[in-house]
């Protein structure tokens, strides 16, 4: 696997106009699967959430999950789409061990929603993204390739298949060709996926966790000679599974294709694989090798004809637009314009909202997401929402602080534990022994020792210089290894040294 020759980004943009197309797959958060009653809990023991239907046993038949249809319609409406008066599922036929029926039940030429648009803001500019279609399908199982060095099928000695994911409802959102973005193409691509994620989160239809695969993106890119020139040949880069990677992959493809074209070559129409580690794409299947999926209407399911009244009912459940939502939240939280801009800019609006919803004070919610967690996300090169710490847990950590069981410094250690997957905040506090010492006798003894060891500072406090207590507090906190309530320590010192 070697990197292709690349043209510099500036040179590429000087010669070519990029055209994008984005296909986003979203796993819905319905309680049950698309065509059976099996639960959809992430991370359950392999093959514990399966039945004859999602295992593709002979004789089993699908029954459509109405809530998944409702979610698909709401997504369509939120993207300003038309909703099909009647549409059908089709069978996409191909053989693969993690496909239980060896066909995927998916919408094909009759999507539930079509012809929509949405607007994405990048810096000061707004880009209108046209939506081609929103369609429903089922997820496949998951193959685990064992025995190789890379975890890929190549070199593996055998593979294990987990069918828990098979049949989980998926929505595919496909844009029309995105034109006119020029040099901003990679940033627009990232902004679109970010925007879509916020939208889906506000609809409450998906967990949209890219690192868990509940939101997956395929990025199409092509180059043409100018804004009026015909579209060039496109490539489809598969499994671009972080927001940062969306931007990087698009940028990489622009540079790579530009090099090919500048060299007098032609771009091959193919799927390409994105490599997160090396930041490059490599060829997958070409158009000639592309499978013939032999689509035909799924005879085991009746056509879907959403009632107009139902669609209107669903429309009424759509969340408010982004602008109104921000004003409302800003007022409710008492944030300044600057605070609010920081929150939105960090992509933390929904996270902060949910953290507050889970019981934290607005200032505390904002503080954790924009400082401690932002730093860690930055270190790992992921978005805030991609961290394995969620709003619920942040609120739980803050609750521990509010009840005086830990302090801010100990909270950082709790976040370490959460990021390492050590359990709930409560469990981490217990396992790591983080609880502050509230034993007055122990604290009193530590204070006495600090006064004895720092007679100079003690004298100053006695003389009325309360600020000098800092040195004593520091000494006590050091002895207690940070596990004390600094406010309480301060009170004890002042009480003991009061004139």
């Amino acid at each position: 696997m070697t990197a292709a020759t690349l043209l510099s980004y500036d040179d590429a943009l000087a010669r070519f106009d990029p055209v994008l197309g984005l296909e986003v797959h979203v796993e819905l958060n319905t309680a049950s699967k698309m065509f059976c009653a099996c639960p959809t809990t992430f991370g359950a023991a392999p093959n514990s959430q399966v039945c004859p239907v999602c295992l593709g046993l002979p004789g089993a038949l699908p029954v459509l999950n109405e809530r998944a249809v409702a979610a698909a319609i709401r997504i369509g409406l939120a993207l300003n789409c038309s909703i099909a008066a009647e549409c059908r599922f089709a069978r996409k036929n191909y053989f693969y061990p993690d496909m239980p029926k060896n066909f995927q039940t998916s919408q094909y030429d009759e999507p539930i929603a079509y012809d929509g648009w949405t607007e994405v803001a990048v810096d000061e500019a707004a880009y209108r993204i046209e939506i081609e279609r929103v369609h429903m399908e089922e997820d496949t199982g998951k193959s685990l390739h064992v025995g190789g060095a890379t975890g890929r099928i190549h070199g593996a000695s055998h593979s294990l298949v987990d069918y828990n994911r098979a049949g989980i409802p998926l929505i595919e959102i496909v844009t029309k060709p995105i034109i006119g973005t020029g040099a901003a193409a990679p940033v627009v691509a990232r902004a679109y996926v970010t925007h879509l994620r916020e939208l889906l989160l506000s609809l409450g239809v998906s967990d949209v966790r890219m690192e868990q695969g509940s939101l997956r993106c395929d990025a199409n890119a092509s180059l043409r000679l100018g804004q009026d020139a015909p579209f060039g040949t496109r490539t489809e880069t598969k499994n671009v599974n972080s927001l940062r990677s969306v931007e990087r992959a698009v940028r990489y493809e622009i540079c790579r294709q530009a090099a090919v074209l500048t060299d007098g070559g032609t771009v091959t129409q193919e799927t390409r694989h994105w490599h997160e580690d090396t930041g490059i794409t490599t060829p997958g299947r070409s158009k000639e090798q592309a499978e013939d999926y032999r689509y035909f209407p799924e005879p085991d399911l009746a056509p879907i004809a959403p009632d107009v009244a139902w669609v209107e009912q669903l429309r009424a459940t759509l969340p408010e637009g982004p602008g109104r939502r921000r004003s409302r939240l800003q007022a409710a939280w008492g944030f300044s314009d600057l605070d609010m801009r920081d929150v939105v800019g960090a992509g933390a609006l929904a996270l902060v909202e949910q953290t507050i919803g889970a019981g934290a004070a607005p200032a505390a919610a904002k503080k954790w997401w924009l400082t401690e967690l932002a730093r860690r996300a930055n270190e790992q090169g992921v978005e805030l929402a991609e961290l394995p710490v969620g709003p619920e847990q942040v609120a739980q950590v803050q609750a521990l602080i509010d009840t005086g069981r830990i302090n801010d410094k100990l909270a950082r250690s709790v976040f370490d534990g959460l990021l390492a997957g050590e359990g709930t905040p409560e469990e981490i506090v217990a396992a790591r022994g983080l609880e502050v010492v509230s034993d007055e006798t122990a604290l009193g003894a530590a204070v006495d020792r600090a006064i004895e060891a720092n007679p100079g500072a003690a004298d100053k406090v006695r003389a009325g210089k309360a600020a000098a207590a800092g040195a004593l507090i520091g000494a006590v906190m050091a002895e207690m290894r940070g596990q004390a309530d600094a406010g309480r320590v301060r009170d004890l010192i002042l009480a003991k040294l009061s004139p």
Binding site: P52, L55, G56, L57, P58, G59, A60, L61, P62, V63, L64, R91, N93, F95, P97, P100, K101, N102, F103, S159, V161, D292, R294, Y295, F296, P299, D300, L301, A302
Partner: protein, 503 residues
């Protein structure tokens, strides 16, 4: 024992209700009969004596305790091996499912179990329900009790042979293009294909999803109606199941009358290509119905001429997709490829499917894969669906003129083993009269119409009605049965040679 095994399901149910017989006695009599004669007939792929007797005992106990039981409680039944049965081997007549014990029951099996019908076993069939003779069964053919050198029809030849040879009073069949009705016709039994959606397909190993229907196989129209009522009705596990109550079929049989009924004889389903004796018996039935007060007219369904061609595009297309699940990954046969040290999943799939499927199955998978291919879809699958619409319109127009339609069930009597095995089209033609009903989703019944003079073998007459009017096929079927039994002075099966198991 002879009286017991020859009794109708309705009579057996009445005898149990009256306390004259127990289900254990009846079930044991059937098991003894199976042990005696099935070596000759090979109607069964699997017999579950213990399970059947246990159910029989439970029903007897319930009855003795004064509990309310279903009408057919305690009447033993045989089930075509296309139907998934929890804990009982289900092969669908194919090596591909050899050794598979399903972990769940088809909805119709659940209904049979809840109603307390002892399940005698699983009956033989053409592999994956593809065929008209059972000669395509991976486990060898079943034999026709009227002539052990001839086919019992197919694909449900096992169920028909079991009922015709008094190994079971009732059986389940499935009908995709005639697999209940054609075996009924050639064995002198009764078989009905319900309206599409009338009986749940959940747990039927799908051949062609838009055509498959399960239905009753019996010796009398009343027995078929009783079983059909038990099987039918909405099933939330089958999205194509009709959300409507089953029509009153038993009432239709008991009040059977054809006076003033408009009977349409389908011009395209008769004449050339139909055996002389089949035609003669059919004409007699038409005469009897006329005498009984029916208004018989001829109707034309011009697009029926294209039904067979459309069927052999739609069926293989759907089948090629339905059968893709047999891939050696999760259940059934697994065959490693020859001479490959470290085979990939794909190679194992290919080797297993090569070894596990018979020629007819492969032929249809290839046909269907081709018909659905990009560039051919419109010409083949697309055109076939258009023909299907035209056939549905033909039916609609015909049912404007007639309340029921009538035709011979099959163009010939039972043929000899091997006669059509090397000529698939000749084999397919045996379903020419039954296929249109599947393409349109309408109900049909086959009842015995007599014996062909030239070979002394059973012939059948088919009654078709509009979708959801299953009661009409039973009404007319019951009248035909009554008139013929009166004329013959007994049932047709009473004239069958006795099968002794000594062959």
């Amino acid at each position: 024992m002879d009286d017991t095994i020859r009794a109708s399901a309705a009579d057996l149910a009445a005898a149990m209700q009256a306390g004259e017989m127990s289900s254990v006695e009846i079930t044991q009599a059937q098991l003894d009969r199976i042990a005696e004669v099935d070596g000759d007939l090979h109607a069964f792929l699997h017999v579950d004596a213990d399970g059947a007797l246990a159910t029989a005992k439970r029903v007897d106990d319930a009855r003795a305790a004064g509990e309310a039981v279903a009408a057919l409680a305690g009447v033993p039944i045989a089930i075509k091996d296309v139907v998934v049965t929890r804990g009982l081997p289900t092969t669908c007549g194919s090596h591909i499912l050899e050794g598979w014990i399903p972990p769940y029951d088809a909805t119709i099996v659940t209904r049979l179990r809840q109603a307390g019908l002892p399940i005698l076993g699983k009956t033989n069939m053409d592999e994956l329900a593809m065929g008209s003779s059972t000669e395509h069964s991976a486990y060898g053919p079943s034999r026709n009790p009227w002539d052990l050198g001839r086919i019992p029809g197919g694909s449900g030849g096992g169920s028909a042979a079991a009922v015709a040879s008094h190994q079971a009073p009732l059986a389940i069949g499935t009908d995709t293009g005639g697999s209940i009705r054609q075996p009924a016709a050639v064995t002198g039994t009764v078989g009905a294909k319900p309206t599409y959606g009338g009986v749940s397909r959940y747990g039927l190993i799908a051949l062609a999803s838009s055509l498959d229907q399960a239905g009753p196989v019996a010796r009398t129209v009343l027995d078929a109606a009783m079983l059909h009522e038990l099987l039918g009705g909405h099933d939330p596990l089958d999205s194509t199941s009709l959300d409507a109550p089953v029509p009153a079929l038993v009432d239709a049989v008991r009040d059977a009358d054809v006076a003033g009924l408009r009977v349409g004889v389908v011009r395209e389903l008769g004449g050339e290509g139909y055996q002389r004796g089949v035609r003669a018996r059919f004409d007699e039935v038409v005469g009897l119905l006329t005498d009984a007060g029916a208004e018989v007219t001829e109707v034309s369904c011009p697009h029926f001429d294209y039904a067979l061609a459309a069927y052999y595009l739609i069926l293989p297309s759907e089948a090629s997709s339905n059968l893709a699940k047999f891939d050696a990954m999760r259940y059934g046969l697994r065959v490693p490829p020859d001479g490959v040290a470290d085979p990939s999943a794909e190679q194992v799939m290919a080797a297993t499917r090569a070894a596990g499927f018979g020629d007819e199955v492969k032929r249809r998978i290839i046909l269907g894969t081709y018909a659905l291919s990009s560039g051919y879809y419109d010409a083949y699958y697309g055109s076939a669906q258009k023909v299907r619409t035209l056939i549905q319109r033909d039916f609609a127009a015909a049912f404007d003129q007639a309340d029921v339609l009538l035709s011979p069930t099959a163009p010939t009597t039972a043929f000899r083993f091997g006669e059509k095995l090397d000529d698939p089209v000749a084999m397919y033609l045996n379903d020419i009269a039954t296929i249109p009903a599947n393409l349109a989703g309408v109900p049909g019944i086959s009842v015995p119409s007599g014996l062909a003079d030239e070979d002394g073998l059973p012939t059948g007459v088919q009654v078709l009605a509009p979708a959801r009017a299953d009661d009409r096929v039973y009404r007319v079927g019951a009248v035909i049965e009554a008139l013929l039994v009166e004329r013959w002075g007994g049932t047709l099966l009473a004239r069958a040679p006795s099968v002794t198991g000594t062959r």
